[in-house]
Subunit: 107 residues, 2 copies
DNA sequence: CCACATACCTAGTAATGCTAGGTATGGATG
DNA sequence: CATCCATACCTAGCATTACTAGGTATGTGG
């Protein structure tokens, strides 16, 4: 359960460049070392939500050989939101660590 | 938003010894460096939930001079659950860090 | 040809933290 | 002594959110 952090992760997954939904799922699975194996019912609504919020923009691609795909890319607002989320995460994780500890690192 | 991690934090706050609800709120606020300033409507239901689940036990104290308080303490199952949550958190935080990064620490 | 991976979607569910209200007592302040 | 605030407890209902469970369709490999 990534309650509350899914959006940040999706944005981060699109930071390297545009990608379609299914690819986002695989990127997240790979980059997290199989920890986050998210079902489609989690990702697709999240992508729609983020586009609705103006943090992503999408366009359909229909290559001559291949299936139709909806490709998402970060908007300017999306990049800004990601930066904010990064700071939030650092603060949040630091605070949780003060309870669940074992994760001290140098200033 | 601590969605999904609140229980672990409450359990951790009671790790040092029994405490009543209001004290738990203050402990959490202090230990988190004011990051988690939780309303009572968050903590009390959480304490009830955890007691219901057998992870906490409670008893009323009515000192001669003072207000009635409900004191909670970790049960054995609660301590075990906390240990599990600790491992989960480490794994989870590590995975999120692989996206939101900037937090590398020595093995 | 048939199974499977790819690729998209949505309605409904369950969990959960929070808002907003309520009650009551003790200590401090004027 | 009256008033206010901090302490201390509680709950009903709300909003968000990730997930379950279904559905559709196409390309590829056996």
């Amino acid at each position: 359960m990534l309650k509350g952090h899914l959006d940040a992760i999706v944005l981060a997954a699109l930071e390297a460049g545009p990608a379609h939904g299914y690819a986002v799922i695989e990127t997240i699975r790979a980059r997290s070392g199989q920890t986050f194996d998210l079902p489609e019912g989690t990702i697709y609504p999240a992508l729609h939500r983020l586009e609705q919020a103006g943090l992503l923009s999408s366009s359909w691609t229909t290559p001559p050989s291949g299936r139709r795909r909806r490709v998402y890319s970060l908007t300017k607002a999306g990049a800004a939101a990601l930066a904010r989320r990064r700071k939030d995460w650092t603060r949040f994780a630091g605070a949780v660590d003060s309870f669940l500890g074992g994760r001290a690192w140098p200033a």
